[in-house]
Symmetry: C2
Subunit: 123 residues, 2 copies
DNA sequence: CAGAATCCGGTCAGATACTG
DNA sequence: CAGTATCTGACCGGATTCTG
């Protein structure tokens, strides 16, 4: 990200998109929801709630709204009886996969590093 | 991340490292601090505060502690008068660069997508 | 210089209950 | 089924002041 011919200020400006990405992905549930939707392609509310362990309907609803605003998922209502709602991952939503992978590989390494340093501290 | 021969449960277990990575990077300041330290290799407290615009000493101190725990930075105190403290990015800290890059590229795309969809909504 | 201490408002997120 | 409403405690993060 940094090149010697850039000022710190220029580098910091580059961080705006990074913060945007982090905003979209932040929180306890978003990546889980995205992953479930990538897995199933399409889900109802209940099915999502069952697959994202521990999430309350309130949080699920809130997170889905944010994901919809960010074009990650679509929401389709069928006026049946009772109404059925389908959440779908968008192609765009799938495009975060490389980001999740980068987080995964680094996170995995990180776990090992932390474990190793804890062993060292104990002697 | 998902393969057809994996259950949703197995996929969700894979998400633990992702959450770990997100935890290390989360908050308003961590990536900025890391970026400044990658740029300078080494900084004093004041120098950091000057380069991370708007951060208070309290937050800077707190974030640095967390980054130290996660082995991203080291803290070296010289018993001079007055004491000088140097924060250094670790090699390990530099290893998040691919993650930041992934976040950057996706975040940049994301800005464009959101902008485009807002233009569309306005007509 | 390099922080710690204190105070405070805002948001996050969980539990529970309720609606059409 | 697909959510909403309300209450609550925990935590985040800023402002200000103080210390060695």
């Amino acid at each position: 990200m940094q090149k010697e011919n850039k000022t710190p200020k220029e580098c910091l400006e580059k961080l705006l998109p990074v913060q945007d990405a982090l905003d979209v992905l932040k929180g306890k549930w978003k990546i889980q929801i995205i992953s479930v939707l990538i897995y199933y392609e399409e889900c109802g509310f209940k099915q999502l709630q069952d697959n994202v362990k521990g999430i309350t309907p309130k949080m699920l609803s809130k997170e889905l709204k944010e994901l919809e605003i960010n074009l990650m998922v679509t929401r389709q209502v069928s006026e049946t009886r009772p109404v059925t709602v389908r959440y779908q991952i968008t192609e765009y939503g799938k495009s975060v996969t490389p980001v999740i992978k980068a987080l995964y590989y680094w996170g995995e390494q990180h776990r090992e590093s932390i474990k190793a340093s804890m062993r060292k501290e104990r002697g």
